[in-house]
Structure formats: C-alpha cells, structure tokens
Amino acid sequence: MPPSAAEALVRARGLALGYGGATVVEGLDLEVRAGEEWFVIGPNGSGKTTLLRAVLGLLAPRRGELWLHPDVANRAHVGYVPQRSDWNPALPTTVREFVSLGHVGTDTPRPERPERLRWALERVGLGGSERVDFRALSGGQRQRALVARALVRRPRLLILDEPTEELDVTSEASLLDTLEELVRSEGTALLFVTHELELAFRRASHVALFAAGRMTAGTREEVLGGDALERAFGARVRLGGHT
C-alpha cells in the first residue's frame, strides 16, 4: 500500500558528516517525505555522496540528529542505484539473476519473488527479458536493470547516485519518466544525486544544494529560484534558458 504523502522518511537536524578527522559537511537540515523527488546537487567533493552514505547507515553522524523511518533504517524497503553496474563482463548472468539480487536483505517470501521480478521489469520497460543475457544489454538498459533491482524491494525510499551520468539523452529522459511514474503511483521518495543542474531544474520537487561545506535544502523554487546557486558555485548559473 502506498504510504501517506505526508509521512516523513528521513529527517536531519544540524547534521555534521565526515571521515576520519575531517568534517565534510555540516549544518544539514532537511526532511524527506513520501512522494517527494529530492535532487541532491553540488560540485564534486561537496558532500552529496556523504549524505547518501549516512542515510544508508554506512556513516555515523559526527554531530546533530539523523532520524530514519523504521522502513528506511532497516533498509529492507530502501532501493539503491549506483552510478553504473560494475558487473564482471566475463561472468555469465541473466537479467533475472541480476535483478533478483535486489531481494537480498528483504523478507520477501520466495513464492512472491517471480511476480515481484516481473512487476519491476515491466516498470522499467524490460518486461519479458528475464532470460536475456545481462551482458548483451545496452548501457541504458543496464541502468534500467539496476533500477529494477532496486524496485523489487518495493522501496519507500529510492536512492540514486548519479544514475544518468553515462546515458544518452533519450535513455536519460526515459529513465526519469519511469522514476516520475513510480513516485506518482507508489508514493516512493527519491534521493537523486547529480551534478546536472538542468535535471534538477526540470524534474525535482525538492533540491538539496551542497557547496562550501554547507547545504541549502527546500522546494525547487526556494533553492533554485534565488541567488543560492550563484553563492554555491561562485558564478552566475544559467538554468532553463534563464540566467
């Protein structure tokens, strides 16, 4: 059952994150709710992936509060899509086997898994490709398979780490349409890391903008509409045909 649109899944208050002795980013305040499309943007090394690692429970906060909904904290209903699939090309696998890896760490009963697999493949436009050799897929199709691998978990929160980095324009648009449809129909929340500002401008409902060790978070209009971008990047930024 889709969660209530108002339900909070992630809440950060005064959060500071870092590695070893170094703080990468601090003063993080944001609240991610079901059905929201958060685009996490900023220059390389600004802390975007650090935030993802914290939400995935792989990095403990240095200061502040990070509250996770129980479904997110136990990660059984969290989907994760890395930048690319690093599958060893000499290792045989089918789309079915690859996507089924998304069941790892969930309590989905085995009899339900084939149906869940078919549903996920249909959602990403790979229906009927269960027996296809994964290595024969194009880059765009592999990225869709990665999304399907996340979807079999029926995620309440879907975390994507620069998933469109290596896609052509058509594949990128198609993947983003799939994600939007998922948000609409399932109430899934997205945390989408990218450094393509245009993408956030066109697709986000909310934006978390990282720069200079800080983060500005809010609705797309709040974050991209004022001078926050200029302050973050230290230069005038042109988005959507406007400066």
Binding site: P82, V104, D133, R149, R153
Partner: protein
C-alpha cells in the same frame, strides 16, 4: 581396465573419496573467488598454507620432547595450514583504499614469501623438507578417515550455504557497495568468505598439495562459466565438474601410473580451454 580401477577402491577408497570431496569443496568456494575476479588469491592462500605447515614442522622440535610427538601427527600441521590460509584470505581480501597496494601485488608477495620461507625454515630437517616438497608437488596418497570426515562436513556445509544464501554471496562478491546499501553486514560476510576459503584450502593442502588445491579451486568455476548462463547454476555445476575431474584423474593415475593430482588438474585445464573455445 575399469574393473581393475574398481578393484583398487578396496585399497584406496578413502583416498579417492577424499579427492572427490576435496575437489567439490574447493570448487564450491572457488565459484565466489572467480566471481570476485580474485583468481590469484587462491594461489596465494594455497601457498600460505604450505608456510603454515612449515612453521608447524619447524616449531615442534623447539617446543620440547612432548611436542615431538605432534611432528608425526597430522593435527598440528593441519591446524597451522588452516590458520595461515584463513589469515591470508582475510588480509588479502580486505577492502583497500586507492592509495594501498593492489590485490595482485599482495597476492604476489604472499605467494613468493610463502614459497621461499618454508624451504629456508626446513633446509636442515630432511623429514620436514621432504614434507614441503611433497606438498608443493601434490600427491594424493595419504588421505585418512579424519580427512574424509572433514571434507564430507565441509562439502555439506558449502552446499547448505550455497542453497541458502547464493544471492547474498553473489551480491557481496560482485557488488559489495550495493550489498552494504541493501543491509548486508559486509564485514561479517568477508569474515565468512575468508573462513570458508581458508578451511577448504588449508585442509586440502595436507591431503593433496598446492597444485591440486589451487587447480580445483579455480579451474572448475572457470570451466563452468562456459557451460552456465547464471552464477547460481555455476555454484552447483563447478563442484560436480571438480569431483568428476578428480575421479577421472584417479582413473588415469591408476591406469597409466601417473600422479592423479596432476592428471586431475590437467583434465580441468583442458576443460577450461574447451569452454573458452566454445564461447568464441
């Protein structure tokens, strides 16, 4: 010809069964070594086991008269072989930062150190040096009922683990980052993988030597890659190939009076070459 081989089971049955079970148990864990693309980890771990045996053989006389009794016992070298291989699998299999030495460099270092140090340790001990040479040469003549029991348990445990957790094993092997993101405790899985690999290789070294252990670890999975469309199927086909090759190796050894370990590995190497040709 076959009747003569069957007749030999009354004399060598335990050794044959140990060879079959060892080949299957090694191939079971070898599938995940191959999936991680860490072929030479197998060579390093096998050679490190030899170092463990050498340390046990050289340390026993130093410990005094009571310990001398252990020298003739298979238990102390077995324990040291397993400890050395588990430790090597754990250390070399650890995730490394971008600045660290590569896995290949570590594997090469372990292999070379473990090849040279045992000979130096036992250079003045005729019995010990002979034992090390036997391990490096690989023979399959000394299996005991204890070996049979150990490999039966190991193969059964490997089959149970494969049946219960092949998805987690595969994800941990090929994509540890996503495995962590999906909630797997990758540190525990790494420890389990090191223990499994170390036990299989450490136990096999005493019975069959480094060539047989390394060969049965990586060659059956490499051959199975050409026969299977999914890794999960490889996890069952590779042990069957390993056991079948060991049986054929014993047959060739009996029929032509050649070393069965070498015959097994040569057959497997031929099988891998055929599977590569089939894929072209």
């Amino acid at each position: 010809m076959i009747a003569s081989f069957l007749d030999s089971w009354s004399l060598f049955g335990t050794t044959y069964l140990v060879g079959l079970l060892a080949a299957a148990a090694l191939a079971q864990v070898g599938v995940w070594v191959v999936a991680r693309n860490q072929i030479f980890l197998g060579a390093a771990v096998a050679q490190a086991s030899t170092l463990g045996v050498a340390v046990a053989l050289s340390a026993a006389p130093l410990a005094g008269g009571a310990a001398l009794a252990w020298l003739g016992s298979p238990v102390l070298p077995l324990v040291f072989a397993v400890l050395a291989s588990v430790a090597t699998a754990w250390i070399v299999g650890r995730p490394r930062s971008a600045q660290s030495e590569s896995a290949e460099a570590l594997n090469g270092w372990v292999f070379l150190a473990s090849s040279s140090v045992p000979v130096l340790l036992l250079a003045h001990s005729p019995h010990g040096l002979e034992e090390i040479q036997r391990l490096m040469f690989s023979t399959l003549l000394t299996a005991s009922p204890l070996d049979l029991a150990l490999f039966a348990v190991l193969a059964a445990a490997g089959a149970a683990l494969t049946a219960a957790a092949s998805g987690a094993l595969l994800l941990f092997s090929v994509d540890p980052e996503s495995a962590s993101a999906f909630g797997l405790n990758t540190a525990r899985w790494r420890a389990l993988a090191a223990l499994w690999l170390g036990l299989a290789v450490g136990l096999a070294i005493r019975s069959a030597g480094t060539l047989f252990a390394f060969g049965c670890l990586v060659l059956p999975p490499l051959a199975a890659k050409g026969l299977c469309r999914e890794v999960r199927r490889m996890a069952w086909v590779a042990p069957a190939l390993g056991a079948a090759a060991a049986l054929a190796g014993f047959f060739l050894g009996h029929r032509f009076d050649v070393p069965p370990a070498h015959a097994t590995v040569a057959l497997l190497a031929g099988g891998v070459a055929l599977s590569w040709l089939r894929r072209r």
